[in-house]
Amino acid sequence: MKVEPFLAPGLAWALVVLFSVLWIALGVAWGRKGKSDADEYMLAGRNIGLALSTATLMASWVTGNTTLLAPEFGYKTGLWGMFSYALAGLGLILFAPLALRIKQLMPNGRTSGDFIRLRYGRLAWWVFMVITAIYTLGFLMTQAMGAGILLQSLSGFDYHVGMIVVIGVAMLYTLYGGMRAVIGTDFIQSVLIMVLLAVVAVLAFRQFPAPAVHARLINSHADHLNLLLPAGLLIAWNSALFSMGEVFHNNIWWSRVFASRRSVVMTSFVLGGLAWMSVPIVTGSIGLVALARGLEFPQVNMVFPVMAADLLGVGGAALVFVVVFASLTSTLDSLLASTADLVAEDIYFRLLRPQASDAQLKQAARVTVVGLAVLTLLLSWPRLDSLASVLFFTGALVASTVWPVACGLYWPHANRNAAIVAMVSGSVVGLSAYVWIAPYCAAVFSTAVSALVMVVGSVRWPERFQWSLLKEAL
């Protein structure tokens, strides 16, 4: 089956303009609410309720990959592919108690970098910042390239035009509205994504019922229905640990903790994770329908859009286009806003200009939003088609931060040198496993080594950390 653009460029442009104007207008309007200080711009006033808090976690975690890679996993590896992808929701759920702990220990904190610097010192902070910089740039690039590739495949847009449009829209409303704009638009985007996905899935299975899909698969691809596929089990573990690394270390999630009301923060992570887990299973099941129908795809990550267009015509293609556009903008806005917060707070304010005023800090965050958008465009300009390998590569790095972060929050004896060695050794071993064994076991090795080093080092050389230091120094 040849993958050709199946949405007329005119209709695609109309949808882009409609939703771009909507996001920017809402972002600017919400950005005018509240005070005009740096806390308001970076953390939306620190009083977000449960609905917005849950929705922003959902929307940020539903990336272009969730709508396109999960169907590919379903198509290529079957049920385990879908379940493995869904296990990435564990990252949010397991972070829930840590989120409450962060809120208690650091009521005035701003970034994940603040925590690492205060808990483990400046050297650990440098190691952590290198890891988070590599991960964030990789994440930004995959989303930007995904935007260019997807809009080109769906509607024939030029790769660079699609990329510029998506990054430009996300940058504009983040720039003018700050975190309040990001969280507000995330609510609408998450509802839109879930409703449209449910519509596509229900209509697809009405045309090709589950018993018929099962009957075809059991005859032609029985392994896709095997729940004890060895590789599937390993991928599932890797997926869960990778997602824990992503959530535990990245400022996207820490900024949501600081922005949310204390009474809702733990519940929102649990609900957000549970709600998110249904998305890859639903989109992955579309991949199984494609397989049962005997369709073959030159680009397997296009399973979902092609199936939607094939089953539901132009309407289906338009639905997928909107889902993908919302997924990409909701993830990019979160990345831009939270990374700008990290750069402004940790590098500009804490490292370079501690005497900077509140207004200067806010201005630094705004300049960083634009700078990051431009940097992402430049790095993503040459097109790479293998994005999954970039993500697995960063998994080796971020998984090494899980135990230093978790131990640092709960265990006063957690040792700063052990944390540094844990992050470095976990990353090195994880990357070695990525190269010498298989990409999908990198996070498993990284987490295991990091845990061992962290625990042994802290038991052998225990610290006596005073939790009050996290409050007082901010």
Binding site: A44, A51, F187, S190, V191, A201, P211, L274
Partner: protein, 50 residues
């Protein structure tokens, strides 16, 4: 589910379980939307959105 001995590492999902997985995932997605909207309405009435 039809279960082949574990040593072969195979456990094939039968049609009824497969149908249940598909149905439950779709219902969960719809419930997630309804939950979000219900919480939003509740908080909006209490002026606790932001």
């Amino acid at each position: 589910m039809s279960c082949i001995p574990f040593v072969f590492l195979a456990w094939y999902v039968d049609a009824s379980w497969f149908g249940a997985v598909i149905a439950v995932s779709q219902v969960a997605l719809v419930l997630a939307v309804l939950m979000l909207l219900a919480i939003w309405c509740f908080e909006w009435r209490k002026k606790r959105i932001w």
